[in-house]
Amino acid sequence: MAAISEQSRPREDETRALLRIIAAQSENANPIVAIAAVVLIYTLYNRANHVGLWIWAGLACVVAIWRHIVSRRIREHSGDADTRALRGYEWMMLAGTAGSSFIMGSAFWLIATSGDLYARMIVTLISMVHMVAVLLYLTPRASDRVIRTIGNLGQGILFWLGVGSAEPPHWEVVVVYGGLFWCGMVFGREQLRQFRESLRVRNENAALLEQVEADRKVIQGALEEARLANASKSRFLAAASHDLRQPLHALTMFLGTLGFHVTTDDARRLLGRVKDTVRVLEEQFNSLLDMSRFDAGAVTANPHSFRLDSLVEKIVEEFRPQAEGKGLTISVTATPALAHSDPLLLGRLLRNLIDNAVHYTTQGRIAVQVQASGERFTVSVHDTGPGIAPEQQARIFDEYVQLDNPGRQRQRGVGLGLAIVKRIDQLLALRLQLQSALGSGSRFTVSVQAATGSLVEPAAAASPAEALAFRTSARVWILDDDPVVLESLGAQLQAWGATVKAFARPEPLLDTLRHLGVKPDWILTDDMLGSDLSGLETARIAVHELGAGRACLITGNTEPSRLEVLRQSGFPVIVKPATPEQLMALLGAKSGSRLPATAA
């Protein structure tokens, strides 16, 4: 049933479209037919039989009204008409047009026979125009076209062949009729073809649009499905990392408790093995969770600028005991490098690489290098281990692949280390490379983007040696209501060679300044002194009125509004605790130069 309606649908659509066009054409033609009839009557009134003229005009009117009614109905009802109704309209339309043709042809007998040559020619002319116009109507079948014109054409030809009159046959007029008919048939067929073509294109476009809409819905559905799947994966991860690990943690607690109750050596040994097993289980579980986190996109990079050389040196130090315990030499050569990447993830990657190197190398050395290379730094981890055959090199980054370990050494996890390395490499775009051959060790290299800007030593980077070597001969007065601060600050300054005077309250300091000939080069004062005068007021009086050299405020009060007041004062401000570097920068700075110590 469905198949039939699917097939008949395009035909029905075509019929409906055709009917609409024919109806419109026929309605447009009606006024023209009316005008033609009036002209005919007017011009031939004195040349032909009156009765014939009126009969003819009356018949033409009846047919015109019929066609008008049919056209109207088609226009109004064809939209929701079923196949049967459409067929009915087609027949009514066909009957209307065929009737109109027949009445047109009847003009030869009703008008032309009783008229003169002029009248005959006029009737013939109008008959021909009518025939051509009807042939140009859009009709679905060639037979329709014949039925529509035959009434007119047949009567015209019969008339000019001399049927029903004394005239001899006029073949030339018959030939003209035939030629016009043939032209109209060809033309009408071509028009129908074009019409069908445009209808097909229109339907195809509609179908395409429908398809696009359907595709869009499918894609939207898939996206929604993917979103849900991702959400459920995230939920699983959250659940896994929290709930699934809890029994493991509880197990550890119970094992710890059991340790207090185990007395025999055998049992203790057994307990040790159980604890090891739990540890390995937890490690493997964590690696698996990490892998899923990477794959779920739950791990994101947080890049910033950091000292790559320090990071690498620190990591190598972590592995030194393990490597040296195996009798391996482990060395690090690092050029100072300010890199821009995610240090946590990069550190993880390097740890996995070095851990691998330490594990697989049985003798020789592991060398880690940081080198500048254009806009980037390369970090390489080189070992004198067994090496990796070229055909294995791509495979080692896959999950759960361990070379030279077919029996799966139990302590070695599940082979996720390099799989995690690969994922971090992709996340941070580190251009991971491996150079290796069987028997000649391996070299893993990553390339890290350099940070823009110059190499700036972060705060607190002065080495103890620098702090010891610093010397100053400045006279420094310090003011703080905390004796411990006075003591530790004073000790530091004296160690650098400064002449120090310590005050716990502002008034004695100002008195001393008024009466003593020697003025201090620096006054270092706390701001909150537990006195009527603040550190800032004391500094102002001392420097601006009493001729002290310079003053610096060392404050523990980090309330923004007060800090702002202090910064506006023009004195350098140090937020407690004052580091040796800040003090060195302060005392070492030339008068009037901008002090780095103003930063909080």
Binding site: S241, H242, D243, R245, Q246, P247, H249, A250, L251, T252, M253, F254, L255, G256, T257, G259, F260, K275, R279, E282, N286, S310, K314, E318, L344, A460, A461, S463, P464, D480, D481, D482, V484, V485, S488, L489, D526, M528, G530, T555, G556, N557, V575, K576, P577, A578, T579
Partner: protein, 213 residues
């Protein structure tokens, strides 16, 4: 000594309670599965400290800690968590925790950590302490190690409450000092121990074994 254990996993609570019973028999362990229940419990019984699981399923993460601290600001909180991400640990201390024990510790590490915490110390996982030290770029000097001893008895009292996560106002009330004095003490403490903020101070206390509870 009363201790409150807040964790929504009964199995873990049971395990920890058994372990604590063996480490220190004089500890009375109370349990709660939710923050709300814990706050009610704290209003009935004074606790020396609270061991709080950060991963409680209803609240979750730092919100758990903040919710508990808002309800019971005066009880020191040691966080127990399955996570051991450095940023998370730092965050927990910023939110007022005075110690952090990863649940992923081995039995031996867990016993050591609990003993340390029960004796009033600040416990942080070794890798956090290592990282802080590496960031400072220097080995610990003897001078630094003695810094907590440089604190006056009054400053030590303030330092304990400060490290426990108490606000200046609460410290002032507790020690019957003015808030200004407490502020001055706090800045002096930071100056002496060489810390810039409470997180650094907690880390230093953990490293040097300063007793805070």
């Amino acid at each position: 000594m009363n201790l409150l254990l807040i964790d929504d996993h009964a199995l873990f609570r049971e395990g920890l309670r058994a372990l604590l019973g063996n480490i220190s028999p004089d500890v009375m362990v109370f349990e709660s599965a939710s923050v709300e229940g814990a706050i009610d419990e704290c209003n009935l019984t004074p606790f020396r400290m609270v061991l709080l699981d950060l991963g409680l399923s209803q609240s979750g993460g730092m919100a758990t800690l903040e919710q508990f601290r808002a309800g019971v600001p005066a009880t020191p909180v040691v966080v127990l968590s399955g996570e051991r991400d450095a940023a998370l640990i730092r965050n927990a201390i910023e939110c007022g925790a005075v110690g952090y024990i990863p649940k992923s510790h081995t039995a031996e590490q867990m016993i050591a950590a609990l003993r340390f915490v029960l004796s009033g110390g600040v416990y942080l996982p070794p890798e956090v302490l290592e990282a802080e030290r590496a960031a400072a770029g220097q080995p610990v000097s003897t001078m630094e190690r003695e810094r907590f001893q440089l604190l006056s008895p009054r400053q030590q009292q303030v330092a304990r409450l400060l490290l426990q996560g108490q606000a200046n106002k609460a410290i002032a009330r507790e020690l019957e000092l003015s808030e200004g004095t407490v502020k001055a003490h706090v800045s002096a403490i930071y100056q002496i121990i060489g810390a810039r903020n409470r997180v650094e101070a907690v880390t230093l206390a953990a490293r040097h074994g300063f007793i805070v509870m």
